[in-house]
Amino acid sequence: MSTEALRIVWLYPDLLSTYGDRGNLLILARRASLRGIPAQALEVRSDQPIPVEADIYLLGGGEDGPQALAAQRLIADGGLRKAVDRRAVIFAVCAGYQLLGSSFYAKGQKCGGLELLDFASDRGPSRAVGELAGEIDADLGLPTLTGFENHGGRTHLGPEVRSLAKVSVGIGNDGQSEGAWSGSVLGTYSHGPALSRNPALADLLLRWATGQDSLEPLDDTWSKRLRGERLAAVRPSGGAS
């Protein structure tokens, strides 16, 4: 950590805050403080400079217009590139995830991305809306990913990046793989408060940010019940949804 307190920055809530994206900020801050790690949650709007000293940077989802505007402002600021260079943690969902790659489409136009991860996004034949689940890359040591996706994009990974998960329910990147990660930069189409159903992923981000190998376990009774319910609802034999 760069300072006494863990600094968690949610970037551009004025542009990238479509559905409960604030949840990831709240969950990370809460899980840190429950372990006695003082956490400072910051919301930084797109007309403000990106803080250079933070430990975790979060990007949320957004409509096409705001997404394109966010890309321009993030690239012009340059702060996220510097953050990656000093191994800060970046966690992005949905439209924010697409921004991490080299290009994406908004309102029919190809737009340049931040080029922080080796992938490019284009438009799929239909909108991907619904439950998303898949087994996470074994090297990350996490249980099954569960979430909800709502996007029109398809993401094509290059050789320099690994997928977050192999899709078992939903579309994710392309119907096969879902999300991407490299170093301490991670993105997913599981949108909004993705960490609410994936507390182990939240703890991975906290471990990356603090450099600790393990964190004190928390009472995750309700998250576990929620995970169990959602994964059961989409299990092929379950017949639900």
């Binding site: 559905y19 604030r22 949108h191």
Partner: protein, 425 residues
């Protein structure tokens, strides 16, 4: 869009004798059948059949009536009821009071209405362009626009654009909320607008100007009717003609009208202000309308109060983040049951729970239930709001002491609890 020109009128009169009349009769018959067989309240099926026989039936039924439309993300059922009550000063008013707010519902409502000269129709915000084109309304009330069921609904900026395109060059008077930048932008294509300081507690869909992409700045974060302006262009809060002052509505001429509603909260006083503004346009003096507004006790179960086992239960419907903020403002500091489903009418995505700050509930006894209670449990845990999970309504009743129990639920969860309470209206 076609205006109400003479060619349209000729077409109406030549077609109406057979198709429209037959369609109206079938529509009313089907509605009666639907009610008699207990399969529905008849507010949709009748209209659906009528529109199959005569696709222009809604336009035909609208001809010759003075119609007010009410649309927006939140408050449209209540505002429709209040507006219909206010127009009741003039005589009978046709309205779709079951919340059937798509063209089939409008058709059923007007088919039932005989030759009633006035109608107030609640309109789903997606259907506003179509219903404006069909009914040529006299007044449209535009309440607010915010995120709602994003897995299905249009995004907020797209919805504002849809309204803006539909309202351009329409010969209709608008009564619009000056406190919602999205509504102001949509309505500002018209020069014939009465602005109401109806408030918008929810700001997270209007930080960015829909006109220029600049930042929207507000004078205060907690006043629902605070001044606002765009830092990049000329879009700013218009000066409202109708405002709220404590328990009173202030009319354009400065008259303070004490509003004594049975419905709780500032947001309902704002809905009353909108209803009074619409009614004034129809020639109803606000002072005459006030007692009619006071007579509205509940709206399709919303705000209904029921005694059960010594508990005074009050039902509040909240379907999206903006609605939840208003519900917390309305509710008493009393034991509170929250119920969340995510069935088709609710939207399948519960992510929005993290857009709501549940902190106002700290210090109250909180119970949770519903199909998606676990989503809510995780949210409340992060929000540091203690709660107890119950699986049935009777379990909830026995978990709270005698006295007030506030129930806040989203759409199908609300209907489930209403069913427990014998479909209270």
């Amino acid at each position: 869009m076609e205006g109400p020109g003479s060619a349209t009128l000729v077409r109406v009169t030549t077609r109406r004798p057979f198709r429209a009349k037959l369609a109206t009769t079938v529509s009313k018959g089907a509605a009666a059948l639907s009610r008699a067989t207990g399969r529905g309240d008849g507010s949709v099926i009748g209209g659906r059949l009528g529109l199959i026989i005569d696709p222009d039936l809604l336009a035909h039924l609208a001809t010759g009536r003075q119609i007010a439309l009410v649309s927006g993300t939140n408050g449209k059922t209540t505002t429709t009821r209040l507006t219909a009550a206010a127009l009741g000063v003039l005589g009978p008013v046709a309205t779709n009071s079951f919340g059937a707010n798509m063209p089939t519902g409008h058709t059923s409502a007007l088919a039932r209405a005989g030759d009633t000269p006035y109608a107030v129709l609640e309109v789903d915000e997606h259907y506003l362009p179509q219903v404006v084109a069909s009914t040529h309304p006299f007044v449209i009330a535009l309440l607010n626009l915010s995120r709602d069921q994003l897995d299905r609904a249009k995004e907020v900026a797209m919805m504002a654009q849809l309204w803006r395109d539909a309202l351009r060059d329409q010969p209709v008077h608008l009564v619009a909320n000056a406190d919602d930048p999205m509504v102001v932008w949509a309505a500002s294509v018209s020069s014939d607008v009465t602005w109401v300081a109806a408030g918008q507690r929810w700001h997270d869909d209007s930080w960015v100007c829909p006109e220029c992409g600049g930042a929207i700045t507000r004078a205060s974060d907690d006043a629902p009717d605070a001044d606002w302006y765009c830092t990049g262009c000329a879009l700013r809060r218009p000066t409202p003609q109708w405002t709220l002052d404590g328990d009173a509505v202030v009319a354009p001429d400065g008259t303070r009208l004490p509003v004594h509603l049975q419905l709780p909260g500032r947001v309902n006083r704002a809905n009353a202000a909108t209803a009074l503004a619409v009614a004034a346009r129809f020639g109803v003096p606000p002072a005459d309308a006030l007692p009619h507004l006071a007579g509205v006790a509940s709206v399709a179960g919303r705000y209904a109060q029921v005694e059960r086992d010594g508990r005074a239960i009050r039902l509040l419907l909240a379907k999206n983040p903006a609605g939840w903020l208003e519900a917390f403002d309305m509710a008493d500091r009393a034991p509170t049951l929250l119920s969340i489903n995510a069935r088709d009418p609710d939207g399948l995505d519960t992510s929005w729970l993290f857009d709501v700050d549940f902190a106002p509930l700290r210090g109250r006894q909180v119970l949770i239930t519903g199909d998606r209670a676990y989503d809510l449990a995780v949210r409340l845990d992060v929000n540091e709001v203690p709660f107890q999970h119950v699986t049935t309504f009777s379990q909830a009743l026995s978990a709270v002491p005698p006295g007030r129990l506030e129930v806040i639920a989203n759409y199908t969860a609300f209907q489930d609890i209403r069913a427990e309470l014998d479909r209270v209206n």
